[in-house]
Symmetry: C3
């Protein structure tokens, strides 16, 4: 008899349910090196202790999306082990910087439930939080995911769909960024003389490919997000920190062997209350597979260009 | 003329011969990150400095099997460069915890020799030891390996086969585990509300695949051991430390591209003298390729289910 | 409209032009672990903090060629984004040791320009420097590279080809090596009882393979250099530090899936002024793909054995 934890099925979730996820992880310089090798981010703040110190950090912070992946990963065994599809993110904010040596743990609260009409699956909405060893929240975000039912005949929990913001309010951004000494921000070292350019278009081949016995492996959607973010360096080298993710769609799956391209659109600029040092850019980054982005493939009417795999809407901080 | 060291052949070994192996290595947080990325272990003690400190470690210790692999690797140029097959392990004990920054070196003593009847090969038994920078033994184990002769006509050394224990005595376990404050051991963070469950059944795809020019590459057997151990987390999340390996068989080779499954059987429980904090479980973990383990494939009479690649018998520590 | 930085084309370079490259990087124990996993170097000085301290380093220094790759990588966006071929290196010297935690930045000066007769491309010569956070040069080298013109009709800059040394003067070597306590250099731990042997011949399979959409990916030439250097351990285990690279040729491209072999020739031995502790060996290391080096494949008249991919001429330090 197998006693392996089978994960939660749709009918196991309850509104308001709190989950403390295993396993806490100390993020080290080794994790950062692996992340850098996988995705190739070149933002100076995260790459160089000296650069970070000069502008006001105690040392180079851990890449925001590595923080996201560590926290996200912890939620999987409880939230999405039996997922059919990861549907979306919203209200994602980075609240405190994370440094190598910090230990992150994660918890989630069920904030919405909705059975699908086929009664085989349902959508679970959770608000997840990442915390450091000082019990400070470093990250929070909402995610919704389609989860299988164990038993189609099981009664569904009461339906509730949370009201989610279309975008994170700019006024709430910047908690993960100390007050910067922008006079010491060296634009030549940072890799771009302009504070930002309008678009990014870069290609990059995958680090490794693999085939499982079931055919192609589906690549974790966060992989696509991190690749697109790293590619955005070209043109957005000074947009050094993800402050919030307004929402994102994994439009199509990503398979090993594909070459990922990306481009970005600047949706808005915002000043932050009380901050003379940094402002925020609202960016929409599209990633494609096996299709260069010189002509900016994106939404086409109700649909997307068939090469698009990611549509990500986020706020990034940039020196003023 | 090539002067490259050709390694030792069977007739080069002498009973009682001592070998100090090159090259000492400082194990870093970088090595730990790579190990984690390759195998995916999620045991809280090794993952989180905070979790480890709370229960009595100065910080998170290095995964036991990473220690094993580093020490094992050092022995290869002297012991098994000319090996045909790595036949088995016994009497493997973890004696002191290892932390990032510690420097490990390895030595081996030849404790047995037996020429095969075909006179082309012989079996070499060594007891290998890993040591830290304070000249403390952190690990010891016996390994036997079939090694080619350089010259079939060479006289064989005197035959001696060592008497090896079937299992490491439970009373000798636990040296690598400080006295724990088990009240601070958080079972929710550790990932399992039960101290242990009877079985683990998990699957995981390989991190990378590769093909050499000779066709398939044979994957290092230690790889299979580390994968199986990482997979055992599901069901054995609190069996956080390998205290000893009683023996192990690489039943069949592992090739890139295969998907590894594993399940575990609890053979025995033991109290440890003078330890109120931890006890020991004797576990037998089987790994298979491309075959789920829902029906627990293992030995079948004198043989094994054809999918089995590993049969590992070990003691793990678990909070009481 | 795409505003991505398109890199420099041949007609964009000017003699004497100075470029400060983005992005500075803090080299960590994580980067070292990845480098070790990729190439497998086993030189004791770089592998063990204890070994390094015993002979006079504050701790294990970062592998010389990892320093080279980090600095080289920084120069690519400005120097060789539009390169057709990386043609050669000269006058490469390692000037200061680099330790984990040091932050490296890079700059280059254009020291030569020569349009090709087809007017489609030209050769750019740069002297590149790597610097640590104390503004000390840790590395310098000359590189020349064939770069496309954006516009074939564009006038070429004035032609100037720099005079480059055939070899780095032995008297200038050793800046990256503190005065060693050679009595504490343990040849058994270092892996070779002899100070050096004449040749190395080892094979090693690649860590990962990959195929981009354009067919085979060309592997970065520095990869071949690092593999060949790691392979040279067998026979040259005590030639622990690259002090200078006199020149090098990527004779043929390297593709994923190939197995790399290497062998080395000792061209010269040199005493270093004021150094009783270490001397220098001038080595010529050849690497091949899919061809063992037992018969030392190398130059054949004006050409090379067809399996040769690398011909590297360098100075390495070795205890006296």
């Amino acid at each position: 008899m197998s006693k392996t934890t089978p994960g939660n099925f749709f009918e196991d979730f309850r509104l308001g349910q709190l989950m403390q996820h295993a396993t806490p992880r100390t993020v080290t310089a080794g994790d950062v090196a692996l992340y850098t090798a996988l995705y190739g981010p070149r933002f100076a703040v995260q790459s160089s202790d000296e650069f970070a110190r000069a502008i006001g950090y105690p040392r180079a912070p851990v890449d925001d999306l590595l923080v996201f992946h560590v926290v996200f990963g912890k939620t999987v065994p409880d939230v999405s082990l039996n997922a059919v599809a990861n549907l979306g993110y919203a209200e994602c904010r980075f609240l405190k910087p994370v440094y190598p040596g910090d230990t992150l743990s994660a918890s989630s609260e069920v904030i919405g439930l909705k059975e699908n009409s086929n009664r085989k699956t349902g959508i679970v909405y959770v608000r997840s939080r990442g915390r450091n060893q000082h019990r400070q929240d470093v990250l929070e975000y909402v995610r919704w995911v389609m989860v299988r039912k164990r038993d189609e005949a099981a009664p569904a929990p009461a339906e509730q769909v949370p009201q989610l913001s279309d975008a994170v309010e700019a006024a709430t951004l910047g908690g993960a960024c100390p007050i910067l000494n922008t006079a010491a921000y060296d634009y030549a070292l940072a890799g771009a003389p302009y504070r930002y350019q309008n678009t990014a278009r870069v290609h990059f081949n995958l680090f490794s490919e693999a085939q499982g016995r079931f055919g192609k492996r589906l690549i974790y959607g966060g992989h696509a997000i991190s690749l697109a973010r790293a590619l955005s360096f070209n043109g957005l080298a000074n947009a050094f920190q993800v402050a919030a993710i307004n929402g994102g769609r994994h439009v199509a799956p990503l398979f090993a062997g594909a070459t990922v391209f990306a481009w970005s659109q600047v949706l808005a600029r915002a000043e932050l209350p009380g901050r003379e040092d940094v402002g925020a850019l609202r960016l929409r980054t599209f990633a494609t597979t096996d299709r260069p982005c010189a002509d900016f493939p994106g939404p086409t009417g109700q649909d997307y260009d068939p090469a698009v795999i990611l549509d990500l809407d986020y706020w990034a901080l940039i020196p003023r």
